[in-house]
Point group: C2
Chain length 465, copies 2
Amino acid sequence: MAKDVGILAIDIYFPPTFVQQEALEAHDGASKGKYTIGLGQDCMAFCTEVEDVISMSLTVVTSLLEKYQIDPKQIGRLEVGSETVIDKSKSIKTFLMQIFEKCGNTDIEGVDSTNACYGGTAALFNCVNWVESSSWDGRYGLVVCTDSAVYAEGPARPTGGAAAIALLVGPDAPITFESKYRGSHMSHAYDFYKPNLASEYPVVDGKLSQTCYLMALDSCYKYLCSKYERIEGKQFSMSDADYFVFHSPYNKLVQKSFARLLYNDFLRNASSVDEVAKEKLGPFSTLSSDESYQSRDLEKVSQQVAKPLYDAKVQPTTLIPKQIGNTYTASLYSALASLIHSKHTKLAGKRVVLFSYGSGLTATMFSLKLNEGQNPFSLSNIATVMNVAAKLKSRTEFPPEKFVKVLKVNEHRYGAKDFVTSKDISLLASGTYYLTEVDSMYRRFYAQKVAEKSRCDNGSLTNGQ
Amino acid sequence: MAKDVGILAIDIYFPPTFVQQEALEAHDGASKGKYTIGLGQDCMAFCTEVEDVISMSLTVVTSLLEKYQIDPKQIGRLEVGSETVIDKSKSIKTFLMQIFEKCGNTDIEGVDSTNACYGGTAALFNCVNWVESSSWDGRYGLVVCTDSAVYAEGPARPTGGAAAIALLVGPDAPITFESKYRGSHMSHAYDFYKPNLASEYPVVDGKLSQTCYLMALDSCYKYLCSKYERIEGKQFSMSDADYFVFHSPYNKLVQKSFARLLYNDFLRNASSVDEVAKEKLGPFSTLSSDESYQSRDLEKVSQQVAKPLYDAKVQPTTLIPKQIGNTYTASLYSALASLIHSKHTKLAGKRVVLFSYGSGLTATMFSLKLNEGQNPFSLSNIATVMNVAAKLKSRTEFPPEKFVKVLKVNEHRYGAKDFVTSKDISLLASGTYYLTEVDSMYRRFYAQKVAEKSRCDNGSLTNGQ
């Protein structure tokens, strides 16, 4: 069996267009700090009419292959996690095949995985399992998480975002799976769903979704701890992981989640909870589960108690989600990317525990072990390739009025046919794919903004037959 | 690593309501034989307003667990293949969690896999890989293929169908994967897709889809042969497999596909093609690929030449697809179920080659090895449990007028909210789940038709939170 299977390489793409949460607060007539402190968000990325989940995934896959110098023929499996449905039958993966077909590689397994924000994690697990299975043919797996999160006008609108992340999977990786330390919690819930098929917007019960998230977190942590304890013969606590990476719809929920883990450790009488913390949490030891999810006091006290640990174990994972917003399937991996961006030289030997959540609901907590790796598959090279600081810096801010106009255009275009886009690519970086046209048969056409250095290469993608 | 991983158990469910293709021909004013001989179909199953892909999958999973006496706690992975979208975010898998939650099992990995009719195969491969991976926790995997295929009025309407199939996956199986003999062909095509999000009906180019199917078949067969030859050091031909099982949208395409494989063997100068066949196919040896897909003469001659082999290697796989129609993700496995139904006592030691196709497009040809197995996981018990003959016999025929009315009702109900169904379950067998209501928040409610013997058990499913 292949050894040390995991993530070899990462690239991230997000649109170069964003809105400031502070400006959006004012525009929406929300109280000052409602989005920036209440949600804990700084900015929100969004697709203009020339970008969508397909163009973003074409961009990030092309970029990853190029920057890590991977021959497209070396890819044996390609799968996509997304909850942004453009076609109900044809997978996003088949659009990405255009990149591989032109190199003569059509023997690539994998399709799209779907359940809300969890699809990317499902795709990643599938890819890792493939490399460990007897079906593996020695080539790389490639996982793409791509989503555009948009909400109808109202309280959920500031929790949108957009990004695509590509993860290369194979043996001898710098980011490996501790596959036995894993707990899932899956159940039937209606916290966030998309039953209105003609609309891009979800039906969402924000309060219920937060409770579902925290319940799933508790359950997954319980499973992970009990599996760890069965295998290692000792208790697991927060002290046993160096970093915690959460699915990050908005930063405030990440803060609450980490505090919730501390409360779990307190109830389990784990060594991670010191005497001062025990004393502060004492009054909450007899709450029922339901009461504990509703208690504002517990929320406040546990976050206060968890603050120093949060700063050490979670804060380094929060940059990108706070800057680009909720990116659904890409959210958890944009938090992981933030950690690598901010700490890459100090991560060798560290354990990172991740919590993936998708409404409806599906959730898994799992553990990764990091090592420096070898170029091009090293943590430091991943940080260099992702180039997060420069990408964030080169973005263009849209005032809220212009952002709302963009959303209106996209609303009308969603599910529509027979239109051409503005083809305005002035804000896109070289190499970015963009939507040019949807014809009368709903067929979608994309082109690539040609890089200065490779103008000879015709960037347009021909259509499937 | 777990050994002899594969399919341990199968159950199949299809609606008890069907229309005769012969009657539909007359109703549609089509020429006599257009659907029965031209398409090669006998009957078509369809869901009335009380059934859908969720109810069918609840029915088949409950039935499989009960009939093979599997404790729901023994399931560690559950995934669904489907292209019938009821919600764009919440997976069908989460609806199925209701069965497991009430037994206290929420630690079950897996979500939905999507790309047209291929999603079930993707889910099956994922499940097998999981059992072979380091993440396997010793429990069973369960794969569900569920689809309702309906088409707008017109030439594609008789190619509908409906069914759900459940496949239990684990080690020491009677149906094991020869995982190294596998070839995939995936590319970007618009042969059949569902871009009109508000409609249940696809956009389909029948002629293009057939050519895509045959091109993918050629490509997958080429890959499978070359992999076999690299490993075994000898040529692979049709003689090396006892049965060929095809994705079966309509039987005529299955006949054409098998003949196409023979034509491939002829071009490869394989031992499976005798002198008489060589002589008959001789005139077609210089056709270009494109010409060969268009040539009616080649189609006719190759089918004629292949007829005796078709009767032996394919005909035993055709019963259910001809009786219930195209069931998308369930189609290939309903053909496999037909083989086990008709030949179960004679299958030990046999090799079965399967071809899975999903428009858009994704396709894989793969190989299974069969052994009798041990009860309850034996081929003969699978045949007994599936009880195909009795299920087909107990169905109720609807005249075309009534069938069209049902489709009209379903058309209005698709994506709708705030309605109750007729709750008319007179035609459903005991144990069948059915849709009772979709509330004003689009939440769906199902109940189970209580079996005479277990009236004490309240069959209704409570809703997720």
